[in-house]
Amino acid sequence: MFILQVYKLLDDKRFQESITRASNNARHGVSKALKENPWLEELAARIKEVGDQVISNLEHYIDKTITSLQRAGAGAHLARDSREALRIFDDLTPDVDLVVMSKSMAAEEIGLREHLEKRGVEVWETDLGQFLVQLENGKPMHTIAPAIHITRAKARRLLSRLGRDPGSEEPEKLAHAAREFLRGKILSAKTGVTGGNAIAADTGSLVLVENEGNIRLVSGVVEHHIAIVPVDKILPDLRTALDMVLVQSAYAGIFPPTYINVITGPSSTADIEHKRVLGAQGPRRLDVILLDNGRLRASKHPVLKAQLRCVRCGRCQFECPVWEKLANHWGGPVYGGPMGLNWTSIVHDPDLASELSFYCLLCGRCSQVCPVSIPLDDIIRWHRTRVWKEGHSGEN
C-alpha cells in the first residue's frame, strides 16, 4: 500500500535530509544560472514554441529524423513500445556479453538493464549516481541526479561489495574507486548504450549533455553505440537541439555543463585516398532506437500532449513539496514527481497515475517553475477526473 511506503520514507531521517539538501542545492544552482544568464529564459520560451510545433506534427518529424539518421550512416529504428524496443536491441546485439551504459531514463523506461541481465549479459552503469543505484538494486530518485538519496557511508558500503573498499568515505575517494572499476569495464566493452537529450530531425545529430565524461567514453570507445531516444526528444534542427540541452542543464541547476556531445553517424575517416571508411577511433556502428511507447498517442490527446514538450530538467521535482518528502517514490515505477506522474500516464499506466494524483497538493509550484510552461498541476488534476467516469481504465 502506497501510504505505508510514504510513512516509512517520512521516518527515514537520512533520506529526508539528503532530499532536502539536494533540493536546496538545485534551487540555488538554477537561480544562479538564470541570474547570470538571463538569455536562458528567452531560450526556454523558444523551446516551448518549437516543442509544440514538433508535437503537433510528430509523425512527420519521426520520418524526417529516420531519413536523416540513415543519411548520416546510422541505423534508425522506431519502437512502438518497450517490448519492441527490447526486441530491436536483441536483434542488434545477438552475441554481446558486456554492455556499458550511460544514464538513460529511456533505458530505465523499457527495463533494458534487467532485460540484458536476464539474457546473461554483464551490464554496468557508468554514471556514478546511476552506478550506485544499480549496486543497491534501487531506482533513480531524480531524473538528473539519480542517487541523491545515497549517503557517502552507503556509497562506500556499496562499492566495497565489489571488492574495492575506497578506504574512506571522502567523495573524492569514492569517485576514484568507481572510476577505476568502471574504466576497466568501458575499455573491455564492445557495445555502449546511451540515451539522447535531443535529436535533430534535419541532420540526425544526437545531442548528449553531461558533466562526468562517461557519455563520451561510452559513446566513443566502443565499436557499437546504441542510443535509445524517446520521440519527444526530436527537435526540428541541430540549432534548437543544442538550445534545448542548454535549457535542460540550466534548469537542472548544472550550468554550464562540462560536456555537450554532438554525434552525427558513426565515426569515419577518408584520409586514405579519399575513400570513406567507417570506424576510425570511434564506433563503427551507430544505431538509434526511437521510442514511441505511448508518446504518439499522447501527442493527439488534448490534455497530455503538453507534457511532451518536457525537457526533463527535473526542476519541478526539486520545487515540489511532496517530492521534497518522497522523491521519485511518488509518481510511478520509473519517473517521479509532478512531471513523472504525467509521464507514467503516457508510457506506463494511466490508472496508476490517476491513483497517485490524489497525493498532489495542486499548489502549482511545478507549473510556475517549468521552463516550458507545462501546466503540470492541471494535467495532474485531469487524472483525478478520470476516476469518476465509469470503467475509467483506458482512454477518455
Binding site: V322, K325, Y359, L361, R365, W382, R384, T385, W388
Partner: protein, 321 residues
C-alpha cells in the same frame, strides 16, 4: 488514509443536497452576517460571498482528526476497514463533529468575517449579503476532479446570486475567489458576475493607520499568489496599519504550500509539509499572517500550541482597529 472516492462522493452528495459539503445548520454559515449588520442585496451594492469556507474549516479539521483516529498505520487493514465503515454521508457524522472545540472554531471564524466586514466599511464600501445564496463554492469537488458535480454547484450558486440582482461579488478567501473568478466562467453559460477578493477592493489609503505596530511575516496562499495575482494587496493593507513585513523564504508567486490539500488523504505527509513551511515562516517573524482559513488551521496544527508563535488571519490583525 481516506479513500478519496468515498470522501468525494460524500462531499458531493451533501453539497448538491444541502448546499454545503456537510449538512450543517445554515445559521452556522450566515449567522455572522446578522451580527455584522449586513443588509440584503440592493442594486449597485457589492455582495460579500464567503462560500462557507471560513465557517466550515473547523468541521473539516475535526473530520480529518476523526479519520486520523481510525487510521493507525501500524494496523493498516483494521484502520482502513474502520475508516471506510464510518457513517460518511449521514447526519450522524455531523453529530460526531459538533464538539465544543468546533463551536469555538466557528465563533472565531465569525469574528474574522465580522472584522473583514468592518474593514470594508472603513474603506468606504457598503457591502450587502445574500443569505440564501451564500452556499459552498464547490471548490473541493473541482479539486477532486468531480467536474460534473462542480458544474452543478457553480450553476446553482450563479443562479441564486443573479436572481437576487447581484452583479459584483466580494470573496474572502483564495479558494472561493479562484472558483468564482477563474473556474465558474468555464462551467456556467452566460456567467455574469464580477468577482474580486476583499483584499483587492480595499484601498489601503482609506483605512486608518492606527493599529498594532510591529513586525510580521506573511504566508501567501498558493491560489492567491499563482492563480489570482493577489500578492501586493495584503502587504499594502498591513503596511497601512503600520506593520513592517519581513518576507519569508519563498513568497509571492514562489510561495510554498501549507500542506492542507492532502490532509485527509495523507495526514502525516501533510503535517510534514506544514512543518517545513512553518520553519520557513518563523525564520522571518514569530507573527505569521495568513489569508486563508485552511492555511491558518494547518500552520497552527503544525505549530502544535507553541506559545512563541502567533498565527493570525490578516483580518484578526488589522480588522479590529
Amino acid at each position: 488514509m481516506v479513500d478519496p472516492l468515498r470522501l468525494g462522493r460524500m462531499l458531493a452528495d451533501n453539497t448538491l443536497r444541502h448546499g454545503y459539503p456537510l449538512p450543517v445548520d445554515p445559521q452556522v454559515i450566515t449567522g455572522w452576517a446578522a451580527e455584522a449588520g449586513l443588509p440584503q442585496p440592493r442594486p449597485g451594492r457589492p455582495v460579500v460571498f464567503t462560500g462557507a469556507l471560513y465557517q466550515l474549516t473547523p468541521y473539516i479539521e475535526a473530520l480529518v482528526e476523526l479519520v486520523g483516529r481510525f487510521r493507525d498505520p501500524r494496523i493498516p487493514s483494521l484502520g482502513l476497514r474502520l475508516a471506510s465503515s464510518l457513517p460518511w454521508s449521514s447526519e450522524l457524522l455531523l453529530t460526531l463533529l459538533e464538539t465544543p472545540e468546533v463551536a469555538r472554531g466557528v465563533r472565531r471564524a465569525w469574528g474574522i468575517l465580522g472584522s473583514i466586514a468592518r474593514l470594508l466599511r472603513e474603506a468606504g464600501m457598503r457591502p450587502a449579503y445574500a443569505w440564501e445564496a451564500d452556499l459552498y463554492s464547490g471548490i473541493m469537488l473541482y479539486d477532486l476532479g468531480m467536474d460534473e458535480e462542480f458544474a452543478q454547484q457553480a450553476q446553482r450558486v450563479h443562479k441564486l446570486l443573479r436572481e437576487r440582482g447581484v452583479e459584483k461579488v466580494i470573496t474572502l478567501d483564495p479558494h472561493t475567489t479562484h472558483a468564482l473568478r477563474d473556474l465558474y466562467p468555464r462551467y456556467v453559460d452566460g456567467y455574469g458576475l464580477e468577482v474580486q477578493s476583499y483584499l483587492e477592493v480595499i484601498d489601503p489609503s482609506l483605512i486608518s493607520t492606527k493599529g498594532e505596530a510591529g513586525e510580521v511575516t506573511i504566508h501567501d496562499p498558493c491560489l492567491y499568489a499563482r492563480k489570482a495575482g493577489v500578492v501586493e494587496q495584503p502587504r499594502r493593507i498591513l503596511a497601512a496599519r503600520g506593520l513592517r513585513i519581513r518576507e519569508p523564504q519563498m513568497s509571492g508567486v514562489n510561495t510554498y504550500c501549507c500542506g492542507g490539500p492532502i490532509e485527509g488523504l495523507a495526514p502525516r505527509l501533510s503535517r510534514r509539509i506544514a512543518e517545513t513551511r512553518l520553519s520557513q515562516l518563523e525564520r522571518a517573524s514569530k507573527t505569521i499572517v495568513t489569508l486563508c482559513p485552511i492555511c491558518n488551521a494547518n500552520l497552527r496544527a503544525a505549530a502544535g500550541g507553541r506559545g512563541d508563535l502567533r498565527i493570525l488571519d490578516l483580518a484578526e490583525l488589522v480588522g479590529n482597529a
